[in-house]
């Protein structure tokens, strides 16, 4: 054998060694055993530990099949990940998804319609809070079961209120009370602000505005979801409040979207936030804070940010198994254990009746009592239509223009209304 031919075979081996891992990586995903249900979630910290604990408990007692919890990357990308996985034919059986993604999930034939399953007597569907049930639906179908619910409440720094001699917020606070307090709590020379608003034009900007809009008695779209309805007296009132606070009182810290607001709150430079349970755990232990429901106009409406578990059709046996797991996982006792571990809110009414709720959960997370009570102020949900991301972007620009004083409330609303109607008409 010549020297050249030896090197030829060496090269073949070299190429095989290089390419083989690629091939193996490419095929690895599909070789899951039929008796293991894959469950994609996107949490890292306490939640991940709690989820994995629940899954381990289930696997220890359930003989028929196993569940495997897989960290699939940040939940912000859950929809993109699921779509990519479906395109590649490697979808999980259960996938954690934001409530705002439901309309887009409705377009995917692989997402299982759970409308009939949730009505099974053992599941007790009506026990879930109305806000979380609403957020599982799109096009009249139930496309997921509730995974998490939170809502916006008023979180305030007690020390700053004491210093400024302003009484703490009450559940009866009106917009006027709120605006006046924010103004008193603002001290430009000390760079101290009454309130903070996330001003990057994203959904973070929009959902706080939706709470204001609902409080004033308005709504985003007409009831049949075919036209924008926010260019209304209620919409004008909400925009005007933002315009006046930002441009006359200068009482709002405008966060550029880098989430500095929480650091600034921790430094005692912001008196009030409209935020949810997820920020509570990041407040420094030295900061004495209180939680109150949002101020009101016509109502004290708030907005929920509910997330869901979708089931993906990978054969009827796997769907049944996934359903069996989720029914167990979302039972009142099991979910309360999860809530106690993480500080997440209960999702079922009956969880709040269990002894551990008062004895353990509320003792560990006293601030959560207000957030749980506030669930009753969640009366509306964002419309689950495919055009929502675009409408949200249109409205986000309008709110931003008003906060920066670049457009009057009236101009901003008109402009956003035109764009939103065009986006709905385009059927995106």
């Amino acid at each position: 054998m010549s020297r050249l031919r030896i090197s030829f075979w060496a090269m073949i081996a070299f190429v095989v060694v290089l390419v083989a891992p690629l091939a193996v990586a490419g095929c690895g995903g599909s070789s899951k055993s039929s008796s293991t249900i894959s469950f994609w979630q996107g949490y890292t910290d306490i939640e991940r530990t709690a989820i994995e604990q629940s899954v381990a408990d289930f696997n220890a007692t359930n003989p028929g099949f196993k569940v495997q919890a897989v960290f699939a990357g940040n939940n912000d990308y859950a929809l993109t990940k699921l779509r990519t996985a479906l395109a590649a034919g490697k979808a999980p059986d259960i996938s954690y998804q934001y409530g705002s993604s439901m309309a887009l999930l409705a377009k995917l034939p692989q997402v299982v319609d759970l409308s009939a399953k949730v009505k099974e007597p053992g599941f007790d569907w009506n026990d879930f809070f109305p806000a979380v049930r609403l957020a599982t639906m799109a096009n009249g179908k139930v496309l997921g079961v509730p995974a998490l619910v939170d809502n916006l409440a008023l979180v305030y720094n007690k020390k700053l209120f004491d210093q400024a001699g302003v009484p703490y917020p009450t559940a009866q606070w009106t917009w006027d009370d709120f605006r006046a307090a924010a103004k008193k709590l603002t001290n430009t020379s000390a760079k101290q602000f009454g309130w903070a608003y996330i001003n990057d034009g994203s959904e973070d900007t929009v959902w706080r505005f939706l709470a204001l809009l609902w409080q004033a008695g308005g709504d985003l779209l007409t009831p049949d979801n075919t036209k924008a309805a926010f260019n209304s007296p209620a919409g004008l009132k909400a925009m005007t409040l933002l315009y006046d606070m930002a441009n006359q009182d200068h009482s709002i810290y405008l966060d550029s979207g880098n989430d500095n607001y929480l650091n600034v709150f921790n430094s005692g430079k912001i008196a009030m936030l409209w935020t949810g349970p997820w920020d509570i755990s990041s407040i420094n232990s030295g900061v004495k804070y209180g939680v109150q429901i949002l101020p009101g106009d016509v109502s004290h409406a708030t907005i929920a940010g509910p997330d869901n578990y979708a089931i993906i059709a990978n054969g009827s046996q796997r769907v049944d198994d996934a359903w069996k797991f989720l029914s167990w996982y979302l039972s009142p006792e099991e979910h309360l254990k999860f809530a106690i571990a993480t500080g997440d809110l209960p999702i079922r009414e009956s969880e709040t009746k269990l002894p551990d709720y008062t004895n353990v959960f509320l003792k560990k997370y006293p601030a959560d009592a207000v957030f749980v009570a506030n669930l009753n102020n969640v009366t509306k949900a964002r419309p689950n239509i495919a055009a929502y991301p675009k409408i949200s972007a249109d409205l986000g620009q309008a709110v931003q223009a008003v906060l920066l004083g670049k457009l009057t409330p009236q101009q901003a609303l008109q402009q956003a209304e035109q764009q939103a109607n065009a986006d709905i008409a385009a059927g995106m």
Binding site: F8, T80, N260, V264, A393, Q397, Q400, L404
Partner: protein, 312 residues
């Protein structure tokens, strides 16, 4: 002659070698095998997506369901989309500022660093450090420095009696702040290229200029600057290609805002693809950007051929 060539010549001459023997012995096959790992990888992750995205750009496609063929509709929509036109304008403003500022400051810094000085290694390292710093870290650092309320830059401005600026939160300033951040990030790269070029210029040329009575300034403009021509051309092309695709800092700091004032064309593309899941439209934008970059590069190279002095 190598032994391999000997062997091949010998065999071919006798005419006994089989097809496989000849194939195995051919330099072509050996060559392709050597590059095959790279070819496979680039083909799989480079060429295939390029072709695939061209196909998607002719479809209404949301990435998950199979697309619907709509011909040139995405491209037609693009021609009448004011938001796209605005993003192109911003990209041009950004590029027109970013490329010359980076070039001239890099040239100045490179000339300053091109001498024997105590601690020169430290200075060179310092200038290059931003290049190897992640763009995300750079972006976060600048978003703090330029924070309108608590940033150190406004603190200095106030100390000097000036008013606070909005920087990234002011729609009329944000794009210029992005230029600043990216110039800072790219400067070191251009400096290193210029330094290498400066060190390639023979000393005798500068000495000759000196003997002829040229001042240092004149010697730079008449001797060094023309000899840096090919390097400058390379940097103009390279920086322009990157400037037209600016994304990272905008994604991290401004999210395209405030009021879309930093929504450059690639950020707009990203929004279409991953906020609105309109992959067809996004890939159409990508192809227009690609053609734009291609055209600009060709023009730059043609102009360069006329303007740039190459040493023979």
């Amino acid at each position: 002659m190598t032994s391999a060539e000997n062997e091949r010549g010998g065999r071919g001459g006798l005419g006994r070698a089989s097809f496989w023997d000849r194939l195995f012995a051919s330099d072509h096959v050996a060559g392709w095998l050597f590059v095959s790992p790279a070819v496979v990888l680039i083909g799989l992750f480079g060429a295939a997506p390029i072709v695939w995205s061209l196909i998607i750009s002719f479809q209404r496609n949301s990435l998950d369901t199979s697309g619907v063929w709509i011909g040139l509709a995405n491209y037609r929509h693009l021609m009448h989309d004011p938001a796209f036109a605005a993003s192109v304008r911003r990209t041009i403003v950004y590029t027109v500022l970013f490329v010359p500022i980076t070039l001239f400051s890099a040239m100045a810094v490179a000339v300053a660093l091109n001498r024997r000085l105590h601690g020169m290694r430290f200075y060179r390292t310092a200038v290059f450090a931003p290049v190897v710093t992640s763009t995300v870290a750079t972006a976060i650092m600048f978003s703090w420095l330029l924070d309108p309320y608590f940033g150190i830059i406004n603190l200095f401005l106030n100390k000097l009696g000036g008013p606070s600026q909005g920087f990234f939160q002011d729609p009329s300033q944000a794009l210029y702040c992005i230029v600043l951040v990216t110039v800072w990030g790219w400067l070191g790269f251009a400096v290193v290229i210029y330094l290498a070029a400066l060190q390639g210029i023979p000393r005798e040329l500068l000495e000759a200029a000196e003997i002829d009575g040229a001042t240092r300034w004149r010697a730079f403009w008449r001797v060094q600057f023309p000899l840096l021509g090919p390097t400058t051309l390379f940097l103009v092309v390279w920086l322009s290609i990157n400037a037209l695709q600016e994304f990272d800092e905008i994604y991290v700091i401004t999210h395209g805002g405030p009021l879309a004032s930093t929504t450059v064309v690639v950020y707009y593309l990203f929004q279409q693809a991953f906020a609105f899941f309109d992959a067809g439209y996004a890939t159409a934008i990508a192809y227009v950007v690609f053609l734009g970059i291609l055209a600009l590069t060709v023009v730059q190279l043609l102009l360069g051929r006329k303007l740039v002095h190459y040493r023979s």
